[in-house]
Amino acid sequence: MTGPLVRTAPTGEDATRRAALIALFIGIAAIAAGYAAAFSRLGTPVWAAWLLALGIPIALGAIMVLGAARGRRGIGQLKVPFAFVVVVLVIGFGAALALPATEGPLSTLWLGLPARAAIVIYGVGLLPIVVLPIAYALTFETQTLSAKDVERVRALARENQAAAENATREPKDNQHPR
């Protein structure tokens, strides 16, 4: 796991993190290309916004996978909520870009908003709330942190502290032999 381009055969862990890093790089590169296109003398091309609409969900999904990936388990059951949220964001932004602007006094309202606005406000802004924090809590012990994990870190910290104290004590003992 020395980087996205290591040449050794990836383990399960490496494969998940490597895929996440590559996806993150692609997402950021797509966003960069979208911004670069905006500097065109002919004005911002239509596809520049599409690059951001795809690049942002990919980058956000990738960095969440990178953070959640754990040992050989990778992201385990979290692949479902992560995929759901990336798809929701892509569909939300994509629908806002692709659907015709038909808002008017006779528009059908969805929970009080015209269709395209409802997709963005309720889809992009609220649906992930229903899924992600719940998924985080339900998988917390198996995927994020257990009491055993915390104890491992604390044990290592105690060892390091003891070693550091010994290291500072020894020179003094040498200077002042009994």
């Binding site: 381009l5 905006a38 015209p114 802004g125 985080y136």
Partner: protein, 506 residues
């Protein structure tokens, strides 16, 4: 999450004089509670760890509410609704990322930051960067970047405080600044982050209550969201389009900067160190996200509601979009609701100022000396002294040109995002990241942000519609981080200490 635009919007608001008996009374009660909490916290602050990270002893609910409080500034109450009033639903792309940012932060940063605190007794964000890359240079450079951002934020928050306090008590802008900074300083210097956290809990609760009440009032007054939408669609259908009056690129840019950029905001990330038990992180994203949704209801409700009320003639046309909240509060809602919201705005600016003062003091007394291989002997005493100096410097700067101060505040969010997100958020999750990559990325974020923002401020250069300096700086910083880490990848594994490696692998 919405500080980048906060001050420029809040500063340009000449808030109307709201000094009515009820508003003044609620304002006095608010300040009395803040001072009471501060006295209590000061008695419990005995060490530098108490002062900078509350002795790692904050419970889940308190931390969640406090984190909401520092994540939302006065912009959510004043400038934000005005922004919606001006450009329609496109302004929502600043707050929509809240649906993912908290849980994203939990997966990417919270566990590793909290465990690093456990393993190394770390107390600052540059501490974590220094430990991750075993590099005093990376620690020092990230400290400088944060300090530069804090200078701007502090001045703008001081000025915002002055604007709000002047509106509540009618004491004049200059006195408003000194009163606001004086109260904030009193609890920052005496009780450190402990006073800050418990004041944030009070302030966050106040903000949530005010926001929910105003939202419900707007819905009732407007006959429900459907009626409000119908009124707007009859006059200005673009307002309720998915991008409002912004271009798609501009709206999506907001979403990118405020989602990915949230991983580099020190006032929120720093809080991860403070949780008493790391296992309590389980419910942290859910609680914080729900809290944020409540606080942001006013942002949406007032912005859309006032637009409908003005279009239907129930409210007089606004002198400027930023008057949306004050006009609604002082002309339509019961005065007690106005009193709560004005105190809520004061709370938002003070909690932000306190948090930045504390982080700035930790950088000056802890990170910068460590970067030069030194240690300050009494970090608590020096922390208090530096806290006083930062507050005074911020208040003096805030008395200067409003335009200059607004400029300082605008780049804060982007600067934190571009300098910290790759090195910290990606670096703590990728063992292939290198010290050289981190330093190059932080330096790129710092230089690109300062250069582009200064060029834009001096009107040397104009970005195409939808492109912002913050976004360009963050993308550049990411790409530099990846490329330099890849070029120097042979050193990657050797730069990670075993305990840090364990934290990264868990």
């Amino acid at each position: 999450m919405i500080r980048m635009v906060n001050v420029s919007a809040l500063l340009q608001v000449a808030l109307p004089n709201a000094a009515r008996p009820a508003v003044v009374a609620v304002g006095i009660i608010y300040f009395a509670v803040v001072l009471g909490i501060s006295v209590w916290a000061a008695r419990r602050t005995r060490t530098a760890a108490d002062f900078f990270v509350a002795g790692k002893g904050i419970g889940l609910v308190a931390l969640s509410v406090a984190s909401v409080s520092v994540s939302v500034s006065g912009f959510a109450f004043i400038g934000g609704p005005g922004f919606i009033y001006a450009v329609g639903l496109g302004a929502m792309y600043i707050v929509l990322p809240a649906a993912v940012t908290n849980v994203m932060g939990a997966w990417v940063l919270a566990k590793r930051m909290r465990l690093l605190g456990e393993a190394r007794a770390l107390i600052t964000i540059p501490d974590a960067i220094g430990a991750r890359y075993r590099s005093r240079g990376a620690q020092g450079l990230s400290a400088v970047a944060i300090l530069v951002g804090i200078v701007g934020y502090m001045a703008t928050n001081a000025l915002a405080m002055g604007v709000v306090i002047n509106s509540i008590f009618g004491v004049g802008l200059g006195w408003g600044i000194w009163i606001g900074m004086g109260v904030t300083l009193a609890y920052s210097a005496s009780g450190g982050i402990l006073a800050g956290i418990y004041n944030d809990v009070f302030q966050g609760t106040l903000m949530a209550v005010a926001s929910v009440l105003v939202f419900l009032f707007v819905l009732k007054f407007g006959g429900g969201l459907g009626e409000i939408s119908r009124t707007i669609l009859a006059h200005d259908p673009t307002f309720l389009g998915p991008w409002g009056k912004l271009t798609p690129l501009a709206a999506l840019s907001f979403f990118f900067v405020f989602s990915m950029g949230s991983l580099g905001q020190p006032q929120a990330v720093h809080k991860y160190y403070m949780l008493r038990d790391p296992l309590q992180l389980k419910w942290y994203p859910l609680l914080k996200t729900l809290g944020l949704v409540l606080v942001l209801l006013l942002y949406f409700g007032v912005g859309v509601g006032v637009k409908a009320f003005v279009l239907s003639g129930r409210l007089a046309p606004l002198a400027s979009p930023d008057q949306a909240t004050p006009a609604l509060l002082l002309n339509v809602t019961p005065i007690i609701l106005a009193a709560l919201v004005f105190s809520g705005v004061a709370a938002a600016t003070m909690s932000a100022a306190n948090s930045f003062i504390n982080i700035g003091a930790a950088i000056v007394t802890h990170d910068l000396p460590v970067a030069f291989g030194r240690r300050v002997k009494n970090e608590l005493r020096w922390g208090r002294a530096v806290t006083v100096l930062i507050a005074i410097a911020a208040a003096i700067t805030a008395q200067r040109s409003g335009t200059m101060v607004a400029f300082l505040g605008i780049f804060g969010w982007g600067l934190f995002a571009s300098t910290l997100v790759p090195a910290l958020a990606v670096g703590l999750n990728w063992q292939g990241a290198t010290r050289a990559g981190a330093i190059a990325s932080i330096a790129t974020g710092l230089m690109v942000t300062l250069a582009l923002e200064t060029a834009a401020y001096r009107k040397v250069f104009t970005f195409p519609a939808g492109v912002t300096a913050s976004a360009v700086a963050m993308v550049s910083s990411f790409l530099v981080f990846f490329i330099v880490s890849w070029l120097t990848r042979r050193t990657a594994q050797a730069e990670i200490d075993p305990d840090v490696k364990l934290v990264m692998e868990l």
